[in-house]
């Protein structure tokens, strides 16, 4: 659904031959509303608009379009402005890097994030994704707090017919370290640590993640983030990025109608790539990140 904000900007600008600074500012106000309604963070919006304005005022002809015969078209200033918005947003969301760090003999992947963001389900999805690439993953039940969290992971493991390592009485740092040896024993070449949801202001639990990192040295630590998160995305992502070596993030529940502005905010603030997108509740609903779709969704 196209939000009013960006549609207003487009309508006002359609075919406009010239764009004065005043009309650019007016269009930027519409874009601002659209991005804020799309849950992009306040400061990130400000920076984005500044960059768009610079490009719009600039004399650099870097925006091109072609007609049906592939001949270059001259864009009106209005159309050019719209193009700049899309291109700038896509550029900010990229470059695309959906690679996973693989190490021998056992690749370690750690899922972290706020409560309910989709870590456990995504752990299962990643396992399935890796199996399609001929890996042999093992799931590790490192959430020892949430009622039936271990059961939940075991159900997913059973659906995929892969081992789930759990050991009662062990705290997550010990468990995650021991899991590596268990994986070797079971001929698995990847371990995926499902950790408990936590608040960034919970110092004890944030320290637990630092401990897991110290003991198990994950090759890939992914921040799993709900696409419907609002302005808090920046606070949360910044804190996780500050305390851990984040390799990338995964945006979940994009099968809804949340605009997903958090993706831009998190990318801006952490500089880390968006790796995957969660597009549903079943284990096959994981996609590698592509900027175009998400950019136009955020812009509205």
């Amino acid at each position: 659904t196209i939000s009013k904000g960006f549609r207003n900007a487009r309508l006002k600008l359609q075919g406009k031959a010239e764009m004065s600074e005043e009309s650019i500012d007016e269009a930027l106000r519409d874009v601002r509303v659209s991005l804020l309604e799309g849950d992009v963070e306040f400061g990130v919006v400000k920076n984005f608009l500044g960059r768009v304005k610079d490009k719009a005022l600039g004399k650099v002809v870097d925006v091109e379009a072609k007609d049906k015969e592939g001949k270059k078209l001259k864009l009106s200033a209005g159309d050019r402005f719209v193009q700049i918005c899309y291109q700038e947003l896509e550029a900010l969301m990229g470059p695309v890097d959906t690679s996973l760090n693989i190490s021998k003999p056992v690749t370690r992947i750690m899922m972290v994030g706020l409560q309910g963001s989709g870590k456990t389900t995504t752990a299962g999805k990643l396992a399935k994704y890796l199996m399609a690439q001929k890996h042999r993953p093992m799931l590790v039940a490192a959430d020892v707090y949430r009622p039936a969290a271990i059961d939940q992971l075991q159900v997913l493991g059973a659906q995929l017919a892969i081992p789930v390592y759990t050991e009662s009485g062990l705290m997550p740092p010990d468990l995650c370290e021991r899991a590596i040896q268990k994986a070797k024993e079971r001929q698995c070449d990847v371990v995926i640590y499902d950790t408990a949801g936590r608040l960034t202001i919970d110092d004890a639990l944030m320290h637990e993640l630092e401990e897991i990192e110290r003991r198990a040295r994950p090759d890939n630590t992914f921040l799993v983030c709900d696409a419907m998160i609002g302005q808090d995305a920046v606070r949360t992502a910044a804190e996780f990025a500050k305390r851990l070596a984040l390799h990338g993030f995964i945006l979940t529940k994009l099968d809804g109608d949340a605009r997903g502005g958090a993706a831009l905010s998190i990318k801006e603030v952490t500089g880390k790539p968006i790796k995957f997108l969660g597009m549903g509740e079943t284990l096959d609903r994981l996609e590698e990140f592509r900027p175009a779709g998400l950019a136009s969704r955020i812009l509205g």
């Binding site: 309604e37 306040f42 039936a148 709900d226 808090d232 109608d257 605009r259």
Partner: protein, 278 residues
């Protein structure tokens, strides 16, 4: 715009930033600032504290909807249905609500109406044990309506005071899942007169503007009687609730402030309003 033109632009910008970063939403923020700047006295226009206080008062007024406590009706059992999108905190909130009723000496039955997600019934079972509630669960993949019908029947036959129906998380954009919810609502009505007496939408306080669509769609499917705003113990302010209360007039009944059994509070508009400006 009268008084507004006299309000310092930087003061307005600062206030707008506070409102937007608390997830109040850009349009709601702009309306609030317009309203307040029209209301305040010409003499007070250059006093930031006065403007802020007027804003806070207006927000509290919007949120201060009638919030009756959950009460066991004349006709037992009170039937409570809990709904919302995935991961918002429904199952955990039900555990907390069960404990609240147990503290009042009530007998509670929990209905494991999430028959889809891995280990959902097991999770609710732990909460039933912790709160001393009875649990009715079905088979995996069983029609949620039949499990919840059974839960109400168990409550009736055992003389329980309250039934709390857990439902699977669902995105409001999924038509078939929203139809399933409507069916649960109808079936509960067949199981007991006037049921469900309360339908609570669980909203995660970290959610941005999408919460408005969630409230709109869930309310359109089944009439909501209240909202529970969870995860307010985090850094998110939950400001999106202001626009929701203004538009739909659905009262926030409780807030979730943690993951333990007693981490539930009755909603207080004044406390919420002041926390927004902290």
């Amino acid at each position: 715009f009268g008084a507004k033109r006299e309000l310092d632009k930087s003061l307005l910008d600062d206030l707008e930033q506070i409102l937007i970063t608390s997830d109040i939403g850009v349009k709601t923020a702009q309306h609030l600032l317009e309203l307040v700047s029209n209301k305040i006295d010409k003499k007070e226009v250059d006093q930031p504290d006065k403007v802020r206080a007027a804003l806070q008062a207006e927000i509290e007024r919007i949120l201060d909807l009638e919030n009756r406590p959950l009460e066991v009706a004349e006709s037992k059992p009170l039937v409570l249905m809990v709904v919302g999108v995935n991961g918002g905190g429904k199952t955990t909130t039900i555990g907390k609500l069960a404990q609240r009723f147990r503290d009042q000496g009530r007998r509670v039955v929990l209905g494991a109406g999430d028959t889809f997600r891995a280990a959902a019934a097991d999770q609710l079972e732990v909460w039933a044990q912790r709160s001393g509630a009875d649990l009715v669960r079905g088979k995996e993949g069983q029609d949620p309506s039949s499990v919840l019908f059974e839960a109400v029947k168990r409550a009736q036959s055992s003389g329980a005071d309250v039934v709390i129906a857990d439902t699977a998380g669902r995105l409001h954009t999924k038509v078939n899942l929203m139809e399933e919810l409507k069916k649960v609502y109808r079936v509960l009505g067949k199981a007991a007169l006037g049921a469900p007496h309360e339908v609570l939408l669980v909203l995660d306080a970290t959610t941005g503007q999408n919460a408005i669509a969630q409230a709109a769609q869930f309310n359109a499917a089944i009439p909501l009687t209240g909202i529970v705003l969870t995860k307010l113990d985090g850094t998110a302010k939950g400001g999106v609730i202001v626009g929701i209360c203004q538009e739909f007039k659905i009262p926030v009944r409780f807030i979730g402030i943690g993951e333990k059994l007693d981490d539930l509070r009755q909603f207080d508009a004044r406390e919420f309003g002041s926390a927004l400006f902290d």
